[in-house]
């Protein structure tokens, strides 16, 4: 890596767990909740209980949870089409999310948005987004708003490696930098934009984060499957943003274990190799974190099993809640076109 780009490559020492136990428990709980939630989404989709598209976050859990565990409740977040993990990490309720997956009236958006548009304004979740790069302007504006109101709020803009090639990134990063806005641009580089390798379509030497140099903002390349490294990076950058020192670009290197969306075939038979996927499966963020908790003596195997059982039950209850919820009635179709 060229030093002139001032990239910091971050991963944490696997032999330690330098965070307080309650925080570790919460990080683990959130990551596993995302995993179990996504597995349930896969199941309901396969059963025909969910329509549209399901873009699963499985494999990327450390990115969402590592970042969001550094935020306050009133900080803002914009998400992507692959957004379920970000929402859960920021505090989204799995039952209302699951109801939205099915288009039910008890869903976060009363069934009007679905998987790609879930928002919870009370948690600062300004929405998942069906447009690649669609949240970049919004996050920048939310940061501007926080700055103008003097609220101390920061905004996190999650996006994928595909969005780094959208013009919206250049325009938003430039604005955020000239106005020193408290926004963290978090690129989750899962190495594929839909079915095309990021490396084939992205003009960088090695890392997407190199682009930050063009906007006079710091950049970090993080092992995105290491929740601790992501969290520590986020803490530092959130603090910097709150202090008025402006935006940054964090690149979390990660991998999606599933395809672009459910039902689109077997990635390992088309655009990527089994060897590559296996390499990343060996770095699965959830067992990695569990091993560290075990080593630190925070949990034992039995407790890990009971945590999993609790989470699995919560997700099952969410599916039941969603199944039991009715569809919105036709008289709602014209509600909310205007505020």
């Amino acid at each position: 890596m060229s030093e002139s780009l001032e990239l910091i490559t971050t991963s944490s020492d696997e032999g330690t767990l330098p965070l307080p136990e309650p925080q570790c428990r919460e990080i683990y709980d959130k990551m596993l909740t995302i995993r179990r939630f996504e597995e349930a989404v896969l199941e309901i989709y396969t059963q025909g209980l969910m329509r549209g598209l399901a873009h699963l976050y499985i494999g990327q859990e450390a990115s969402a949870v590592g970042i969001c565990s550094a935020l306050n409740d009133d900080d803002y977040l914009t998400s992507t089409h692959r957004g379920h993990g970000h929402l859960i990490a920021k505090g989204g309720k799995v039952d209302r999310m699951m109801a939205e997956m099915m288009g039910k009236v008890d869903g976060y958006n009363r069934g009007k948005g679905g998987t790609m548009h879930i928002a919870d304004m009370s948690l600062g979740i300004l929405g998942a987004n069906g447009i690649v790069g669609g949240g970049m302007g919004m996050a920048t504006g939310a940061a501007l708003s926080g700055k103008m109101r003097g609220s101390g709020q920061v905004a996190v803009c999650f996006f994928g490696d595909g969005a780094i090639n959208q013009g919206a990134f250049l325009e938003s990063a430039n604005l955020a930098s000239i106005w020193s806005l408290p926004v963290l641009f978090v690129c989750e580089n899962n190495h594929y934009g839909e079915y095309t390798a990021a490396s084939d379509v992205t003009a960088v030497r090695e890392h997407v984060a190199e682009r930050a140099a063009g906007f006079d903002m710091p950049a970090m390349v993080v092992d995105g499957n290491d929740a601790v490294a992501v969290h520590q990076t986020a803490v530092e950058m959130v603090e910097r943003a709150r202090a008025g020192e402006g935006p940054c670009l964090i690149e979390n290197k990660t991998y999606r274990y599933r395809g672009h969306h459910v039902g689109d075939g077997d990635p390992e038979k088309t655009y990527r190799t089994q060897e590559e996927t296996d390499t990343w499966l060996a770095k699965d963020p959830i067992p990695r974190f569990a091993r560290r908790m075990l080593k630190a003596g925070m949990v034992d195997e039995a407790e890990l099993e009971s945590i999993d059982a609790d989470i699995t039950k919560r997700v099952e209850d969410a599916v039941t809640f969603a199944n039991d919820s009715p569809y919105p009635t036709a008289d709602e179709v014209t509600d909310h076109v205007y505020a």
Binding site: G111, D335, A339
Partner: protein
């Protein structure tokens, strides 16, 4: 008891509306290209920076998608931004932010979110600005549910509609005709003067034919009405003032009275505002009509640069007069 009035220009109406609303509500701020230090390319926002400072009156980079996106995000989170897009032609660059983001946030979130964003932009040919600085693209955003659209023709309408738009909790677009910034007219002398969206205004009363006209075409229609009056044809000029929501009731009532309608808008004639209005009049006022609804718009060509060509493409009063005369020649009076 009538409100006292002052005569100001269309451009001054913009400045007064923004200044009054910024004094009234500290969450209102204004940003755009060259709007602060230079006071805008049309000089209509001169003085705002001095009064409100650079935090609330912001010069932006030439970055339409970026500033629109920032406007949407700020509007979602407690502010009331006014974003200026210097030329309406440039709104094409910010379309995702308006069409896919701002317009749909309230609906997609089941009513959780609102986007109190005001977008000001310009329309209109007539100054040899050629094909990328002269278009009247108001149909594009009028097509989108979730956006409100105003197209004021006078200083009073501009001021009242712009103030309403800033107070509205939805994304609104104000299309200002760049040729009218020097146009003078009376404006009520009242800081709380507003005009509701969805209320058309009868700019001239008449009994033989209804001319539904927007923006600068209102003035073209009024000139045509004077010319037709000399021939004994009494013209009513109806200005919808907002395209979304649209006050069809006033238009239908006028057609009920006159039995004939011509629609005029400065945009390209095909697939636009005139098509929509004519279709709705034909549909909703069919029983009152003694003649087909005619429409007049710009030629379906890119706006040319040459002073020898540009006027050919824009509707003028002579064309309106001929169109109205045609209605009476085709139909026994």
């Amino acid at each position: 008891m009538s409100t006292p009035e002052r005569v100001i220009t269309y451009g001054e109406a913009v400045r007064e509306a923004i200044a009054e609303e910024m004094r009234r509500d500290e969450t209102v701020f204004f940003m755009g290209e060259d709007v602060a230090a230079a006071g805008g390319v049309f000089k209509v926002t001169v003085g705002l920076l001095d009064e409100f400072g650079e935090e609330r009156v912001r010069d932006t980079p030439i970055s339409e998608a970026g500033i629109m996106g920032a406007g949407v995000g700020a509007a979602l989170t407690g502010m009331r931004p006014i974003v200026e897009i210097m030329f309406g032609d440039f709104i094409t660059i910010a379309m995702d932010q308006i069409v896919n983001q701002a317009a749909k946030m309230c609906y997609m979130t089941g009513g959780q979110a609102s986007v109190p964003l005001t977008i000001r932009t310009t329309i209109g040919a007539g100054r040899s600005s050629a094909a990328q600085h002269s278009q009247s693209l108001q149909a594009w955003l009028s097509h989108i549910p979730g956006v409100k659209v105003a197209i004021p023709s006078t200083p009073a309408d501009l001021k009242g509609l712009l103030k309403t738009s800033i107070r509205d909790d939805n994304p609104t677009v104000i299309y200002e005709d760049k040729m009218m910034y020097g146009l003078k007219g009376p404006v009520p002398d009242d800081d709380d003067y507003t005009i509701p969206f969805g209320v058309a205004d009868i700019k001239r009363e008449g009994s033989d034919v209804t001319l539904v006209a927007t923006s600068s075409m209102v003035h073209t229609a009024l000139k045509a009405a004077d010319m037709l009056d000399k021939e004994g044809v009494s013209v009513e000029v109806v200005d919808p003032r907002t395209l979304s929501p649209l006050d069809m009731d006033t238009i239908i009532r006028s057609v009920e009275k006159t039995s004939r309608a011509v629609v005029v808008d400065e945009a390209y004639r095909s697939y636009g505002v005139t098509g929509e209005l004519a279709s709705r009049i034909a549909d909703e006022a069919f029983d009152y009509l003694d003649a087909p609804v005619k429409r007049v718009g710009a030629m379906d060509v890119p706006v040319p640069f040459s002073p020898g060509l540009e006027p050919e493409t824009i509707p003028d009063e002579a064309k309106l007069v001929r169109t109205v005369q045609g209605l009476f020649h085709d139909v026994a009076v």
